[in-house]
Symmetry: C2
Subunit: 428 residues, 2 copies
Amino acid sequence: MPGTLPTGGRPNIVQIVMDDLGCGDLGCTGSPLIATPRMDAAAAEGLLIEQAYSAAPTCTPSRAALLTGRYAQRVGLHRVVFPEETEGLSSFERTIADVLGDVGYRCAAFGKWHLGDGPEHNPLRHGFEEFFGLPYSNDMDPLYLVDGEDPVAGEVDQTLLTKQYTDRAMDFISRQGDAPFFVHLAHTFPHIPLHVEAPFRGVSEAGTYGDTVECVDHHIGRLLDHLDGLGLRESTLVVITSDNGPWFEGSTAGLRGRKIDCYEGGVRAPLIVRWPGIVPAGARSEDVVSLLDLPVTYAALTGATMPADRPIDGIDRTAVLLGAEAPPRPPLFFCSHWDLHAVRDGRWKLHLQRIGRDRRELPQLFDLSRDPQESYDVQTLFPDVMERLLALAADFDDEIRSQKDEAIARAQTRMSPAAVGRNSPVAK
Amino acid sequence: MPGTLPTGGRPNIVQIVMDDLGCGDLGCTGSPLIATPRMDAAAAEGLLIEQAYSAAPTCTPSRAALLTGRYAQRVGLHRVVFPEETEGLSSFERTIADVLGDVGYRCAAFGKWHLGDGPEHNPLRHGFEEFFGLPYSNDMDPLYLVDGEDPVAGEVDQTLLTKQYTDRAMDFISRQGDAPFFVHLAHTFPHIPLHVEAPFRGVSEAGTYGDTVECVDHHIGRLLDHLDGLGLRESTLVVITSDNGPWFEGSTAGLRGRKIDCYEGGVRAPLIVRWPGIVPAGARSEDVVSLLDLPVTYAALTGATMPADRPIDGIDRTAVLLGAEAPPRPPLFFCSHWDLHAVRDGRWKLHLQRIGRDRRELPQLFDLSRDPQESYDVQTLFPDVMERLLALAADFDDEIRSQKDEAIARAQTRMSPAAVGRNSPVAK
């Protein structure tokens, strides 16, 4: 029954994250040009969260937060990492795979990683027992696939990545028997450069970008069918989202800004939750949910325990996912590198910085409940709100900066070759 | 009767241009937070053109085009001019005031000029017999008002500018008797810094930005009432628009980009046309109109003649204004400085460049008829369109660049002090 957790049984969790997908790019989120029947059906069978946020406006920080429940600055991954850079997810961090592993989950990651390509950053060192995917974005060089900890020889055919990731995820799921599992499936598209599997070339009215999204939709459909075919339909929580707003293409649904910006268009993400029989079908929620909240919510749903020895920024949003009454989310902070750009608290969003050198007309206070496009600064109408948010921002800024040196040092520390073992990435 | 021009009589023309007003900032264009009852009423009594474009995404180029019917590059005013710079509207250019003056119109300009502050750039040297306003933007220094050709001593009280400009326009209109007149009323707001006349402080739900727009709306109402009171209601064409998209605040109505960008949000303008008895009341047009077209259309309406010895980029859009069937507008080109950023032709918009250093994913072809937010590049679906627009763009680019040296030289040429006469701006 919707609103009730299963007694005893813990759900499998499949988390599907697209790369640079806009919040307006799905049929169920208003796209007139991209056909996403399978994701639309998942939303219709479950819940569409209309005010979901990625934790950061770029790939690495967003993913660092998504997997740890902590702001990327705390993790020391405050910016996009490139090949041959030393930064990555440190051994200090506990990912949701580590956390779920403690309560018996079998965890696997497929697709884009982008949390460092050093041996110690590999998903297998972070709670996942299987990995197949790209160590970073598909526009970075050298481009190679990794299987487990081993680089895969040969050129990458990007047109096949969506299918390959999906096949590996389906295979992993097939092999789990009665063990609960967690799959982090991070698709490479619609991040540029766009590559399209043959059957999907030219199918979308939205051009090549749309083709890649329709291809991902198809393979998400295959995965959902696979779960259903294995009898896992009711026992599996499926979450579908994106890592940040769209970049050169893609729809922000009319919201201001794009990827890299902390305006709504840069950080809003589509968020679909399917868990038939538990999550009410066809529901829509206006509650604020951050992707920071997903690991904490998964832990709550499964009886796992997030680490208690460090700040965790995500909160348990089980109530939202189950369609129940939920309290307002505590303030969310949006950073670019080490600069706090924006704070959202309830209906309010305060902008302190923006991308680009022009700092005029800052700070700005927007009332998202009446002005979702962030057009009108209302600080003169709500001076008390302004004062409160400025104080919140200052406190957060102080806190994050006080952790800066330690966080960066952790993210840059490489393990000794002996400790890492035999495998190392190609062409380094 | 709508659709019929008056026999014999030529309309007075009042052209009201706001500064940096967003196309979504009026009640009649969808703003839920700014109350603009007088502009809404003008739209209800006349025509709202829903696909109107400023000729450029910044102030000086947009105004250069608006007053000459020529792309700003041809005028040599391809970028915003600042105090103490030598560029300005050259004596070679023929403004719409020059053109209308030839057929007996009395012409005056009130408000922001921003086409150079040298003596030879003064509106009185360009067909206007009266001028009262700021020589450039209200964020530039030194800030002084000019009355005719003389700087006004004393500090400028920006809170009073909207009222002062309006009062001067009303006074000018009162004094014209039976002579036809053309008024170019260029309001300073909502350009930053925002200053609000006392009665309007805090009135808008959209904050200070909204206050300035509501103040402008009030004074536009006074002007319309004044016309009506003088019995000029049916004999006066009133045009209300903006010079480019909104900047740090203001609504693009969900369109991509803002001021400076050549995406739709940077160049779309609201455009209201009121001419009771001639322009059909309550009409809305989806025909494309550029502010380049206004001078040419005014000339056509009044029997005046645009100069024939130079390229004129605007076209006669009388048919659109009269609510009649109108042919599609020939291609429109959008430049930033000397770079051609975008071309619109019918439903298509091709982007060749964008603001910022990142040139990835260019060019992009958008289908505005299905994708007004410019989210999806469809060049692979419409290769023939792509080829055609690329050719159009290349031709335009070649043409404009071939005029570059001559246009710049004209805009930079200063007249000799003797030729200019006695007055010169303050603090130069």
